[in-house]
């Protein structure tokens, strides 16, 4: 077998340094990080392996690496690192690097490198929304118009909801295909039989809806009940609650916008669909993470990149403005008040969807379960070929 010819890339080293606060160059490869990691395995000795690949700027190897997505940043590695090299933070930085590597447009890279780029991008989208709104509905509602007349739900569907859904679907699909190409297709050592894709699909769905690996981040011997009561599952549950809330609201708004604009305040169907519940979930979840990021007490939220802040803040503002909008409809505010609240809500919501979802932090919602799925596929395929 030929040796790997090492190609180093110090531009990449610089980039990884820029998008996080890990001192990964300080690593002297003692392996403590991988030893204490509850999720690392013998075949996947992260984050030790990633520490040296990042230190040497090994672009090909890093791009093909799925392991950053298998890490949930419990922070044990960073706590125990004898050189304070912050391996946990490196895995975070590598996720940022990977998001920009899967993104063929190059926008992610810009957003991660510069916070001003991110501000400008958000402003541009918000302005775009304002212009589109002005063209569709004018800058103030016609006198005496009802809400449906002033802001037609059909138009919102046709010109806002569905285009953005299509845009996100196209972007994310192409990025995930890019990820598939770089991490699975490029790996010539494994050949994955087609049937596996189907039989392993459950792991994709299971991981998406449970984020079960978060629970494994604590490998102490305590019972699950004990962990639950002592708060060891808090982060996982808060994260899961936030994610479920987000997904259900997204689905609800895309398909049931009509109802959101009606004054019917107590429809059984929507309670079942968690609409109110989900709004509470979003607000509670984002406040929880903002507090964590402010207090910097746990490893996970010790370092906050500008994209992290932007993500939680936009999400929080979206939820608050959405609840305000819904309240103003239910409590029959004047149409012009609702008209402006509606506009502001969209000017917050759309930058979040257009910028954060495909190009920035939000995209981990898609990449993580897919990466777990790909990793499962590769492992199963390897086992099959070995037997």
């Amino acid at each position: 077998m030929n040796n790997t010819v090492i190609k180093t890339d110090n531009e990449l080293v610089k980039y990884i340094k820029e998008v996080g606060e890990s001192n990964f160059k300080k690593c002297f490869q003692c392996g403590t990080c991988s030893a204490v990691c509850p999720l690392s395995t013998e075949d996947r000795p992260f984050p030790r392996k990633e520490m040296i690949m990042a230190g040497w700027g090994m672009k090909e190897e890093l791009t093909a690496d799925l392991d950053p997505w298998l890490c949930y940043y419990c922070g044990e590695c960073s706590k125990n690192c004898p050189r304070k090299a912050e391996p946990g933070e490196l895995m975070m930085s590598l996720r940022r690097f990977l998001i920009s590597a899967y993104d063929w447009t190059g926008i992610s890279k810009l957003l991660y490198k510069s916070k001003y780029a991110e501000y400008i991008a958000i402003l541009i989208v918000a302005l775009g929304v304002l212009i589109e709104w002005a063209v569709l509905f004018g800058l103030h509602p016609a006198a005496g118009a009802t809400l449906s007349q002033a802001v037609s739900p059909e138009k919102v569907d046709y010109f806002f909801d569905w285009p953005i859904s299509a845009f996100l679907a196209i972007m994310l699909t192409s990025f995930i295909y890019n990820m598939y190409r770089k991490t699975v297709l490029s790996d010539k050592s494994v050949k994955i039989p087609l049937s596996l894709y189907v039989t392993e699909a459950w792991s994709l769905i299971f991981n998406f809806f449970t984020q079960y690996r978060y629970a494994k981040c604590d490998d102490s011997e305590e019972s699950a009940a004990k962990k639950l009561t002592s708060g060891k599952y808090n982060f996982w549950l808060a994260h899961l609650f936030l994610m479920i809330s987000y997904v259900s609201l997204f689905v609800a708004i895309v398909f049931f916008l009509d109802w959101f604009q009606s004054e019917n305040s107590m429809p059984i169907l929507h309670i079942v669909l968690f609409d109110y519940f989900a709004s509470i979930g979003l607000i509670f979840g984002t406040i929880y993470f903002i507090i964590k990021r402010f207090s910097k007490k746990i490893e996970r939220s010790k370092f906050s990149h500008h994209t992290d802040w932007m993500f939680v803040i936009l999400l929080f503002l979206t939820a608050v403005s959405g609840v305000l909008l819904r309240a103003s409809i239910v409590y029959s505010y004047s149409v012009s008040a609702i008209f402006y609240i509606y506009l502001i809500h969209l000017m917050i919501l759309f930058p979040m969807l257009v910028i954060e979802v495909p190009f920035s932090k939000w995209s981990h919602l898609a990449y993580r379960p897919v990466a777990v799925y790909f990793a499962n596929l590769k492992e199963k395929a390897k086992n099959l070929s070995n037997n």
Partner: protein
């Protein structure tokens, strides 16, 4: 000489409560017939001391036996003029009552024996006569590098004349022609020129009127002894016609530094394939050239092969170091110099990537911070691994380096434009003489003057590879300082750094061990202090360490000498030369007073005034050996080294750990000073077993006299044959290597030996 013996027994510190002092006095009087024999409850108090002083002045007592605490305690109080009064300390406290049950007959017998042994020694001991001389106090410094300059300047500052000899036409040594020094203090970014500080040092030495500098000179020969070395200094420029200069000096600091390991032996690492594969020293020289001797900062490092700017450099650390086939040791400086050079490359060729392949990155002490700083540079890539091959691609003019056992989890290849071999330091401690194609001295063929063949008297491991060319000493044992390992001068490194096995000659700097300039400066100061100490002590007739201030020295009764040459060979310090017949010629100034010669002498003609085969023999003879073979009547003689084993016994007492009452301890200067006649004395008297407690020997020896415990063990081999002839079991004699801190093990060591002897049964010669 009058023998006015006074025995003073202290009953303080519970001695009176644990022993029958009345009976002690009576036995002491019966056995030793002293002029005075009294007890006092507080002998070290003013009253007790006055009691002794009065007896000294009124009753002319000149042999004072103090039966109280250890000789290591209260030395300031029991301090009488050593040239007129012999003070013998008998250790009733640490070695008797603290380690034995109180008011027990065996404990009482132990105390009585110790008093009798002390009294017999006191009776035979004579007073030392110090050899006070007017000696030369000049310090000769060999080598004018960083260490040599610092040594000279410090000696001059202390008021001593200095003769500084430098082989090259310029002072300054290794750094003189190099480029930058590595920073020794945070924030490690000053990037100073290597000559900064060095030039000041050179001019300070040159301006000093106390320092006489010989540039372009080397040592032709050195003879004599501390305080009167005769150094012949000759030109090293090659004009052999010039007369050598003669200088008389008191002591010598050897600061001859190091030379880089010969890279021609490293063709496995590609040396010689292309001019772009060079050593760290060659890179330094290249930098020095490029910078025009430090005048220019703005230049680019170019490849020697095609003159293009270098875009990638790979450093191979431990090139020929920590490798059994080359230098087995770490030179301590290569990691720092490679990091420094990596920083220079990154500064002068900002596009270049630097790879460092290491076994371990060793940046001592504060230097770790420099390593950490360099780690952060995104253009420097360090990885642990072993270079398994270096190849050169002529077409692409690139060098391929294969690295195995990496932390990438496999073997890797790196392509680079330049390879730097970080080679280690070889001490300039003289060159090996290759006479008659043999590099080893054959010690087995020593013949006595009478022509009878002697068994080899020196264990083969002490054989020295003969060297010359540095000091060219006219010593019988060879021309250079003996090596310990790898060409570094032998010394008890833990206790006595800067020492060599040639008294008055002190190696410092990287000839002593691999050091950088910062440590060399400290080393120079330490060695110069030692050199000054040696001159001062020797001129007062006192020993240098480890027997500092000892005024005794061995006396050779030459008419009885059989010219067996054992003393001249075995002296670890080369103190004894010999004439053409083989008669020893003793140099007291070179002597450390260990008594190894005394232990070696088969005809017992070597003795100290207060320490001789006869004196210790009479101590042995004064031990009471009961004939009745019961368990408590077994007698085991313990020879305990005064340096580690005796203090260990004291600490054992301090911890009140019990020790068998069968033992009788005699302190010895060194196990090497044990003369075989003492075994005969003891065994013929009926002593059942002999235990030697002394320092560890071997490569990491702890012996304060470097070879003593090893020689004792070697001589015991000869003894065992004699024992077998006498139908005595050889197990009756045992040597145990002991460190000071091993005192906890002593009860077990002694118990084990006593049980062994008991299993052999009593000594059949008892009662003869």
């Amino acid at each position: 000489m009058d023998n006015n013996l006074g025995i003073y027994i202290c009953s303080g510190c519970d001695i009176g409560k644990s022993l029958n002092v009345e009976r002690l006095i009576n036995t002491a009087k019966d056995s030793n017939k002293p002029l005075v024999c009294v007890s006092h409850e507080f002998l070290c108090g003013p009253e007790g001391i006055n009691l002794i002083k009065n007896d000294i002045s009124e009753k002319k007592i000149n042999k004072v036996v103090i039966a109280a605490c250890s000789m290591r305690a209260k030395q300031d109080v029991f301090n009488f003029d050593q040239f007129t009064i012999h003070t013998e300390r008998v250790n009733l406290r640490e070695h008797v009552i603290w380690i034995s049950p109180p008011n027990d007959n065996n404990t009482q017998l132990l105390a009585e024996d110790y008093i009798n042994m002390g009294a017999s020694r006191a009776k035979k001991a004579a007073f030392p006569e110090p050899l006070v001389q007017d000696l030369n106090k000049t310090v000769l410094v060999v080598g004018g590098g960083v260490t040599g300059l610092n040594a000279s300047i410090n000696a001059a500052k202390a008021g001593y004349d200095v003769v500084l000899v430098e082989k090259k036409p310029n002072l300054g040594g290794f750094p003189f022609s190099k480029y930058k020094k590595w920073e020794t203090k945070p924030p490690f970014d000053k990037n100073t020129w290597i000559r900064e500080g060095l030039d000041e040092l050179i001019s300070e030495a040159e301006k000093s009127n106390k320092i006489k500098i010989y540039k372009n000179y080397k040592i032709k020969s050195i003879s004599g002894a501390p305080g009167k070395f005769n150094a012949e200094i000759e030109s090293s420029a090659g004009n052999s016609g010039a007369e050598p200069v003669k200088e008389i000096v008191g002591s010598i600091v050897v600061a001859t530094g190091w030379k880089p390991y010969d890279a021609k032996k490293l063709n496995n690492l590609g040396y010689g394939l292309t001019p772009d594969i060079l050593t760290n020293v060659e890179l330094e020289e290249l930098y020095s050239q490029l910078s025009d001797g430090g005048k220019s900062e703005n230049f680019t490092l170019k490849r020697k092969s095609d003159g293009n700017p270098v875009k990638s450099v790979l450093f191979i650390q431990c090139a020929g170091s920590r490798d059994e086939n080359h230098l087995p040791y770490c030179s301590t400086v290569c990691c720092m110099s490679s990091l420094k050079e990596a920083a220079l490359i990154r500064k002068n060729n900002p596009d270049a990537n630097v790879y460092i392949i290491y076994k371990d990155m060793r940046t001592m002490g504060e230097y770790e911070n420099f390593y950490r700083k360099m780690q952060d540079d995104e253009g420097i890539f360090m990885v642990k691994g072993v270079v398994s091959g270096v190849s050169y691609d002529k077409n692409g003019n690139t060098i391929g380096v294969k690295v195995k056992d990496t932390l990438f989890g496999g073997d890797i290849d790196i392509n680079t434009e330049m390879v730097v071999l970080a080679t280690g330091m070889v001490p300039n401690s003289g060159e090996i003489e290759l006479k008659d194609n043999t590099a080893t001295l054959n010690i087995g063929e020593v013949k006595s003057a009478s022509g009878a063949s002697c068994p080899p008297s020196v264990p083969v491991s002490t054989a020295q590879v003969p060297k010359s060319g540095l000091l060219n000493l006219s010593y019988r044992q060879g021309k250079e300082m003996p090596d310990l390992v790898y060409g570094f001068p032998d010394s008890n490194f833990i206790c006595f750094p800067y020492e060599s096995r040639r008294t008055g000659i002190y190696p410092a700097g990287s000839v002593r061990m691999p050091l950088d300039t910062v440590f060399s400066v400290d080393d120079a100061k330490g060695a110069v202090l030692k050199a000054i100490q040696c001159i001062e002590q020797t001129s007062k007739g006192r020993a240098v360490h480890p027997r500092s201030n000892d005024t005794t020295y061995p006396f050779f009764d030459l008419p009885r000498c059989t010219q067996c040459k054992r003393c001249t060979e075995e002296c670890p310090f080369g103190a004894i030369d010999e004439d053409e017949k083989g008669t020893p010629q003793y140099n007291p100034e070179r002597c450390r007073r260990c008594g190894i010669c005394m232990g070696a002498c088969p005809v017992r003609i070597i003795s100290f005034k207060n320490y001789s085969p006869d004196i210790i023999g009479s101590m042995i003879k004064s031990i009471y050996v009961p004939e009745d073979p019961t368990d408590e009547n077994y007698r085991i003689l313990v020879f305990a080294c005064e340096n580690d084993a005796y203090p260990a016994l004291d600490i054992l007492g301090l911890n009140k750990l019990n020790l068998s009452s069968n033992i009788r301890v005699i302190p010895v200067r060194c196990l090497g000073s044990i003369n075989n006649v003492w075994y005969a004395d003891a065994l013929s008297k009926g002593i059942d077993g002999i235990l030697l407690l002394g320092c560890k020997y071997g490569d990491d020896y702890q012996c304060h006299f470097t070879k003593g415990s090893e020689l004792a063990s070697y001589r015991m081999g000869n003894l065992k044959e004699t024992l077998t002839r006498l139908v005595l079991e050889e197990e009756r004699v045992r040597q145990v290597q002991l460190e000071y801190t091993d005192y906890m093990k002593l009860p077990e060591i002694v118990e084990d030996f006593v049980n062994k002897v008991k299993s052999l049964g009593p000594n059949p010669y008892k009662g003869f």
